[in-house]
Point group: C2
Chain length 356, copies 2
């Protein structure tokens, strides 16, 4: 007895339409060398048989898989969600599929880099937000397909990212302009050993302080564990207990910023009257909660990285002919996206000094 009914093949359609397989192939791909009448007949037959071209068989001969892969540390974050939500439709519009590799921990990560499952199974790879080692990057170079680094800069390889230093600077300057002099920085300890540009945001913070002639004070840097509410309470407690407590906090992401606001208000520390808080992201929740923040657009990053991927895929065949686009044909292009200060209701001038 036969297994599940087989899919119709191109040959089936050809038989039903009374033409040769090659003609069906041409018609299905929309090539112009098919007479309108025949094309109609083929399309009808295909519809009746519920036929779709097998990507597997096609790619065997074309050498293209029609798949673009995305490597992400997790999908459980506003950033990744937004980025892939814009990348997916873009790829579909070009007739491609989106393959996602989620590497939530070091074991998964090691296994990915050891087996390199994307090899031969995608036409390009987008690497999101990882802080890769040199070995890992070298391994990706072996993939023999375009690899684009997103939310991370990698020397000599195509990258798309926002200017985190400038963003950190903007946030800090905003607070400085409001009159704050004691400004804390809230850092998030991520559990999976990936960084999300936090190093650079801290750098921007320090840079803005330096410009204003304010010395860096590491008592003002707190670390919040992203999965533990007590760490927020502790961090806030530590800041408030300082001899000279801050009047403002810059959190490297909106989520911790929101938890700071919530924790402060619950403790009857008025925000922004007693303490200003600014985040980074412009998370959907930031508007809801009227949080001041530095906006970045992961949706734009996803889209732009996707466009770059398509471009590199296109040029992958012809690359050795004309060296028109410079020596590497855009292979080491860096695209830097802007950030934008969005002042909202959680930042204001510091309270009038009481003890000075």
């Amino acid at each position: 007895m036969p297994p599940t009914q087989r899919h119709a093949t191109l040959a089936d359609v050809a038989a039903r339409a009374g033409v040769s397989p090659s003609t069906v192939s041409r018609a299905m791909r929309g090539l112009p060398t098919v007479s309108p009448e025949v094309r109609a007949r083929v399309e009808q037959a295909a519809r009746e048989l519920n036929f779709a071209v097998s990507r597997q068989a096609a790619s065997l001969v074309t050498g293209r898989t029609g798949v673009v892969a995305a490597l992400v540390p997790t999908l459980d974050s506003w950033f990744m969600g937004s980025a892939l939500s814009s990348l997916g439709p873009l790829l579909r519009a070009s007739g491609r599929e989106m393959n996602v590799y989620v590497l939530p921990d070091l074991a998964e990560r090691a296994s990915f880099f050891e087996r390199l499952p994307a090899r031969r199974n995608a036409d390009a790879l987008l690497v999101f937000g990882f802080d890769l080692t040199q070995e890992e990057t070298a391994r990706l170079d072996e993939l023999e397909m375009p690899v684009i680094y997103v939310s991370q800069h990698t020397e000599g390889r195509p990258s798309v990212y926002v200017d985190d230093v400038a963003g950190g600077c903007k946030a800090t300057r905003h607070l400085l302009h409001l009159g704050h002099r004691r400004i804390a920085f809230a850092h998030v300890a991520s559990s999976h050993g990936f960084h999300f540009s936090s190093r650079e945001r801290l750098l921007g913070y320090r840079q803005a302080l330096a410009e204003a002639g304010i010395p860096f004070d590491d008592e003002l840097v707190i670390t919040i564990a992203s999965d533990d509410r007590r760490s927020v309470l502790e961090g806030v407690g530590r800041l408030l207990a300082l001899r000279e407590p801050p009047t403002a906090v810059f959190a490297e992401h909106d989520e911790p910023a929101l938890s700071l606001v919530s924790t402060l208000r619950k403790a009857r520390v008025a925000v922004p009257e007693r303490m200003s808080v600014i985040g980074f992201d412009d998370h959907r929740m930031a508007e809801w909660a009227d949080l001041s923040t530095i906006a970045q657009s992961p949706a734009d990053m996803g889209r732009i990285a996707g466009e770059l991927a398509l471009e590199l895929i296109e040029s992958d065949g012809a690359e050795r002919d004309a060296r028109d686009g410079g020596e590497d044909g855009g292979r080491s292009r860096h695209i830097v996206l802007p950030t934008l200060l969005i002042p909202r209701g959680t930042t204001a001038p510091p309270p009038a000094p009481e003890d000075e």
Copy 2:
């Protein structure tokens, strides 16, 4: 001049290892019928040539693609992110890839159902959180692969979801037990025309009210647009302006619940002293903000749905032989996951009555 260097093939490895292609194939798939010595030789050759089996070629002959597809309305939500973050690694552990189709608007959705790009390109499809029409469901039935409905029940087809009615009931009962009698329900108007079980949560709310002998009052149901802060302000304003304002709000998701808390506190309405707020999800932010909520686990849903998919893929070949697992071999199984009340700091007894 040649294009980009071609990938090594199985034949190349065979030549280098001095064996036949079939032997290489067997070795690469870990079949037991290969002598250890030969296996070692093959693996070495494969490593030297940076060889990986082409899924496309393999699937052409096995009839399996090694891909599981997920259909999602968006990735930009806590729920989807968590679900796919657990699904991905599970699929990888079984040696499969995860293909994601994001359908953020009705145009994308229509185009997906018209072209059915998953056809022939995946071994199973997981459909997340859509409220499908009958036509769409019928279309998916034509896919000739297992289709699992997640976060949605569909008659006669495998489904995995939480008991939203019971969850809504639990949230409302929690507030009732605390002594609340005027309880509002905050509904989210989603922009893409997809429902996320909100109908059923409202049902649970009404059911709990009925049990307590409290009549349903539609003045207490507000709608918040998920992308507009003013709508939150308006909703809160409307509730507070009622002749008999509520003392508690049940929001169908944590994100709007958090924005309610934030808006109320900013307006100097103490939470929970003056107004209790409970959400639904147990979003990561809920713990950070000390929000009472009804927990559901999208991670569990993703995992369980994935396991079901693998099971159905396995049984897909043998299904017609033994009808052991009931008439349909689990093809119409429904798996209902539990919800859990998590009381935190945003719910408390109502304030002592002032005017009565």
